[in-house]
Amino acid sequence: MSSYITSSVAKKYIMALTGIPLMLFIFGHMLGNLQIFLGADAINNYAATLQGLGGFLWAIRITLFVLFITHAILSSILYVENKLARPVSYHKPATVVATLTSRTMIITGLIIVCFLVFHIFHYTVQSIDPSFKHLFDTQGRHDVYTMLIKGFSNSSITSIYLLGVVLLGAHVHHAAASALQSLGLMNHKYAKYINFAGPLLGVIVAVGYAVVPLCVLFKVIK
């Protein structure tokens, strides 16, 4: 059994099985964020509902953290193994079909780790701007709407977010279809649809996340 788990194919499964829930979370989080366009009440109510989950919210957070750490550590191991598999590189290397996003997964992944740490300290722990902790709406709920307006009105902060979410989209651009290939769910009938939908999902993630800070920065949302 140990040789099964440590095999190159099983490592692909683990990358896919840890990545798919993270992608579902990314998509769910994006839909949650987009509620800002429904007004302050909608997004504050959504945030209060999430906070009301209590222990279940922590169970989700811990699960996501374990998946994220496993995904990150395994990808680092795979990166080193892959570098060792070709000790002498080509004098004139060439790329035929590999996309830019597929070739930069380790770079986008590392930047996403840094971005995620910043994001958690910014909006979850709220230690970068502690005034976020004292924002409440008329119903006494945490005023997430005002927090987002305050946060994204700062062009430096918004720039960091734009970089982070575009790279997140780039990561998903390769990851979505790749995960299905790794799990053996690709075949000649569905390949063309999956290879179209996967990268499209990456674009949707980048645009879906970027639209909120951009709308705040350009005062479309006030």
Binding site: N82, A85, Y90, Q181, S182, G184
Partner: protein, 271 residues
């Protein structure tokens, strides 16, 4: 006759128009990896390949270069070749960063010089992988593939008289699917082109070929486990689904076979 193989000139003599065909030649600059043996450090060496016909194959061009090197009392460039018909999988070479050169679905031996231009600079390197050690110049040791095949790339049968034709009916779709996988000639281009030097496409083709035939069923699960283990033990890299292998494969083996192997391996773990 290749397009642009001849320079056409017309001259008029005593009111008669004559058409003269001059064979067009190419002058190329080659940067070739030279390495005396496995222990030698090796380096890129520049050669001028003048008066090359566009109708030569790439290997014939190297033959001409070698003849000139021998005339000059220099060591000829070692490179692998055998059938020169694109079916044996012996020829290799990374040509300007691409396994078997720039033409899709073409082995180096079937690549013709008409796909290059006069004055081109061509980098020629051996297939690079930890599992493919350089033996000399452009020749690499691809016996890692043989060792993988020895662990499961066969069907165990009792030897004796061949079975009657059509004694074992196989649906046409299955036969064609298995044939698509069986087209793999084991040249190693997939490994050479892959950014991670992964052998997944090769192993996937061999696993899929037998997994779709009734003869392959008894050893199906054992085969995929053994061949994947052998592949990992040889030190090939991991697949990151970039599909450079499929693009470089001279037999255009589909990466869908890798998904097939992933399914086979998953099922083998559940049994």
């Amino acid at each position: 006759m290749g397009r642009g193989s001849f320079i056409v000139d017309r001259i008029e003599i005593h009111d008669t128009l004559f058409t003269i065909h001059y064979p067009q030649i190419m002058n190329l600059t080659l940067y070739i990896w030279r390495q005396r043996n496995a222990k030698d450090k090796g380096k890129m060496v520049t050669y001028m390949a003048d008066d090359i016909s566009p109708d030569m194959s790439f290997l014939e061009m190297l033959d001409v270069v070698n003849e000139r090197l021998i005339e000059d009392n220099e060591d000829p460039i070692a490179f692998d070749h055998d059938c020169r018909e694109g079916i044996c999988g012996t020829c290799s070479l990374i040509i300007n960063g691409r396994a078997h050169g720039p033409e899709k679905g073409t082995t180096t031996c079937q690549l013709h010089m008409r796909h290059f231009k006069d004055g081109d600079e061509i980098y020629i390197e051996p297939f690079r992988s930890r599992a493919f050690a350089v033996i000399r110049d452009l020749v690499v040791d691809r016996s890692a593939f043989d060792r993988i095949m020895q662990t499961g790339g066969f069907i165990t049968i009792n030897t004796g008289s061949p079975a009657d034709a059509n004694a074992l009916p196989i649906p046409k779709e299955d036969a064609e699917y298995a044939m698509d996988a069986a087209q793999c000639i084991g040249c190693g281009a997939c490994v050479a082109q892959c950014k991670n030097a992964s052998a997944m496409l090769f192993v996937a083709a061999k696993v899929s070929q037998f997994a779709h035939l009734p003869q392959g069923q008894p050893e199906r699960m054992k085969r995929v486990r053994a061949m994947v283990k052998a592949m990992d033990d040889e030190g090939f890299g991991n697949c990151t689904n970039q599909y450079e292998c499929e693009a470089a494969c001279p037999k255009e083996i589909s990466v869908n076979f890798i998904a097939k192997m992933n399914r086979e391996f998953l099922v083998s773990g559940l049994k």
